[in-house]
Amino acid sequence: MMMKSESPIEPVRGTRDWHPVDALRLSRLEAMLLDRFGRAGYQRLQISILEPTELHERKSGAGIVAKLFEVANAGGRVCLRPELTAGIVEAFTQAEPMPKLPWRVSQSGPVFRQEESKRTDRLREFHQVGVERIGDGGPSADAEVIWLAYWALAETGITDATIRIGHVGLILELLSKSGLPPSATSALVERLSTAAAEGRNVASMESSLDQLSGWLQTAEPGEIPSQMDRSDDAGIDRLFRTLVPVVTGRRSGPDIIHRLRSKWALGHSLATVLTKVRSQIHELAELRGPATTVLARLTERFETVAPDSVVALRSLIGALGDYGVDLDRIELDLGFGRGIGFYSQVVFELIVPTNDGPIEVCGGGRYDGLAQVLGSDRDDRGVGFAFGLERLDDLLKTRDSLTYEPGEHGFIIVAATPELIPIAAKLVTSMRRDQQKILFEPTLRYDDAVNASDPDESLHIIEVRDQLDRTDCLRVYNVWTGHESTCKPGQWKDLPAGDSSGSWNENEGTS
């Protein structure tokens, strides 16, 4: 009977391996983006992949926190970073001496997010490449960052992207003035943040508003609260002690009474508040379209309600125009709640049309206040973005307009006889010192190497036929042209890449 072999080890769901050709393409794309960020003064920074879980719990939107990969046995609560910004801001708050402001940094690396879906094509480990500009604010800083994302994308060959700009500050401002209690507001903000991650806008808050009113109507504001409403604090305390003689758990009696009262009060005032919030949400959701049109409507409707946000958006659009961005490529969408809760003002995405519909390749925004939430008293303003590298790579593969260069080409070196292998090895070493890319295949026959040659992998096949000081000791096959020639060492240095003639011995024949 045959022994059953061990079952194969399955890869971790949502991860992928990058084989050489793909890895090379990906790293070139990464390098290209980082280079363009560098030209705008953004220097590369590297931070740890392992981060304290709390770094994300304090501020990140629910969409991120729910997806954290926590690490067991790490001592304290540690997670794999789900994004780059919080770690960079943390690095800023810790940096000694304090960096000169504004601090312009770029960063690239893997991030990790749990995906609920069992779909294996949803990556749980993927790469982000982006920048942060920390320690200043205002439309001109925002414009520089948004322009940089747009320009870097154009440099990869994608010139038909749309910049979608929203302003969560406006939504937050309206909610905070609505009369909803802070906890209800934060629940709504959470809901909007989740909805935005799923591609829905501010209108998705409607269902949450319905849920809120349903809950308050069904949740027994019966006799107990109505008595409470009439009682003074001491009376309520007595009543509570009668109703709940033993308080267990980590919440105190006053905590419970306080929340019960506010819940009841909310139940009474909610109807009017909800109507007001609903109509404002509708208005915001409709403010969507080409920048110039929407800007006019925004000014007309909201300039008196939220003057700062409106002025900031107008200056931002103007500044992007100054950078040469075609205003027709900018879409304003005031119902767009991307990352609300994390971002505080301007938010944006770069959207690229594809045959399968528009896809988002880059996202970012302004997150003023983050440094403070992380316990620092340094300047807490910041703005940044990140590209999803795999997504961008997938997109570039579907387009013919690849503008980044293909892989390098090198030499394959073989030996004519086993005796010549040591001599071939010497040649290999010296060529590698000269920074040539050499694949040494001592046991491969020249004819086999020629037959199996692939222009994507190598440019020349060199056979060592004799001592290196002899004339014509090397036979050289040019993979691209199919020409064969002979020469001796010392002559290849002058050979321009991809050119079969140059100073090689003109002893060519066709193979």
Partner: protein, 351 residues
């Protein structure tokens, strides 16, 4: 061909008792020498090899394909389902070991009555810089359920012991735990809340998906198909009596119809009636039906009033119905189609 077909059963407790009973009724008697032996055979069904292990291990072993079928708790499977992509449910409710996974809060939290209260409360905790803690043995299910409701800011205390004391000891604020009657929760000053049922669970049969795909190719009359059919038959007959009511035609021409109508009103199914003759040639009628065992005693006097002469209830062991559920067909639909094995060949697939 998969041989033996390895079936993993819980090694003891009510999950063990229930499945052994079902299998026995279905004609698959598990022969286990002692409780300490972790392997067994099934009399008359040599292709099945039974192994006993802990219910949580059963999910792992089926997922990894070492066992082809397994019986475990629906709660345990659901908790691991996210990472057990190769394991799938074959029968989701074997009709025993029912329980619910529920959210329970301290009784003194009179302000918390509905799951939405936790949305609000966890946000309040977060705003005050406190961590809302939830003790549970089911972190994945809890997290997924809370997420559906928009509850995001909480810390899971993953614990194996008795959770009911956690709120009192300050280990956690609330718990998410199994309950069947709710008595234990109440005894520990905890209370369920509206929309707080995370999962309804019962014992279930699970299978290794690639193995299932291979087993269905053997057809419905191979050992795997027969086992599923037998279990279907037993489940459909559970708690049912085959009822026979006879009476004389002399009692009135519409008596049989009246009896049948009454039985339908009592929830009886599969009614049939016809004429019969007694040994001495007296004409009579007979109504047969399936009825819940617990109903019969309460019905019998009314049946006599309607003209019945004799009522017999026989325990049903198998019920097969043309339109009934076929687990085999469902499994076949749910797995990728592989080439069918031809019975006359030696198991090799012809090109």
């Amino acid at each position: 061909m998969i041989d033996p077909i390895r079936l993993a059963l819980p090694s003891k407790g009510h999950l063990y008792d229930g499945v052994v009973e079902i299998l026995k009724t279905a004609g698959y008697k598990v022969r286990r020498v002692s409780e300490r032996q972790y392997e067994a055979t099934i009399s008359g069904h040599p292709r099945f090899h039974v192994v006993f292990m802990r219910p949580t291990d059963i999910v792992t072993q089926v997922q990894e394909g070492r066992c082809h079928l397994g019986v475990t708790g629906g709660d345990l499977f659901a908790e691991r389902a996210g990472e057990a992509e190769n394991a799938q449910v074959v029968i989701n409710d074997l009709g025993y070991a029912g329980c619910r996974l529920v959210v329970a809060v301290p009784e003194s939290w009179i302000d918390v009555t509905h799951l939405i209260d936790l949305v609000d409360l966890t946000a309040e905790f977060k705003a005050a810089g406190r961590t809302f803690r939830v003790s549970t043995k089911y972190p994945s299910l809890t997290q997924a359920y809370f997420r559906q409701w928009g509850i995001h800011y909480f810390q899971i205390i993953d614990s194996d012991g008795a959770l009911e004391l956690h709120p009192t000891l300050g280990i956690a604020d609330i718990i998410v735990d199994l309950t069947s009657s709710g008595t234990t929760l109440k005894d520990n000053r905890l209370r369920e809340i509206d929309r707080g049922t995370v999962l309804e669970s019962a014992a279930c049969l699970i299978g290794h998906a690639p193995s299932l795909a291979e087993l269905v190719t053997e057809g419905v009359s191979a050992p795997f198909g027969l086992l599923l059919d037998a279990i279907d038959g037993v489940r459909a007959s559970e708690g049912q009596l085959h009822l026979e009511v006879v009476g004389r035609l002399a009692a009135g021409p519409s008596t049989a119809e009246a009896v049948a109508t009454y039985l339908v009103s009592q929830g009886a199914q599969h009614l049939a009636r016809g004429e019969v003759w007694s040994m001495d040639g007296t004409p009579g009628w007979r109504v047969t039906a399936l009825i819940a065992s617990k109903k019969l005693t309460a019905c019998q006097r009314q049946l006599f009033r309607l003209g019945a002469a004799r009522v017999v209830g026989l325990p049903a062991r198998f019920v097969f119905d043309r339109d009934g559920i076929s687990t085999f067909d469902q499994v076949k639909k749910s797995v990728p189609t592989l080439p069918e094995v031809r019975p006359e060949s030696d198991g090799r697939v012809e090109p």
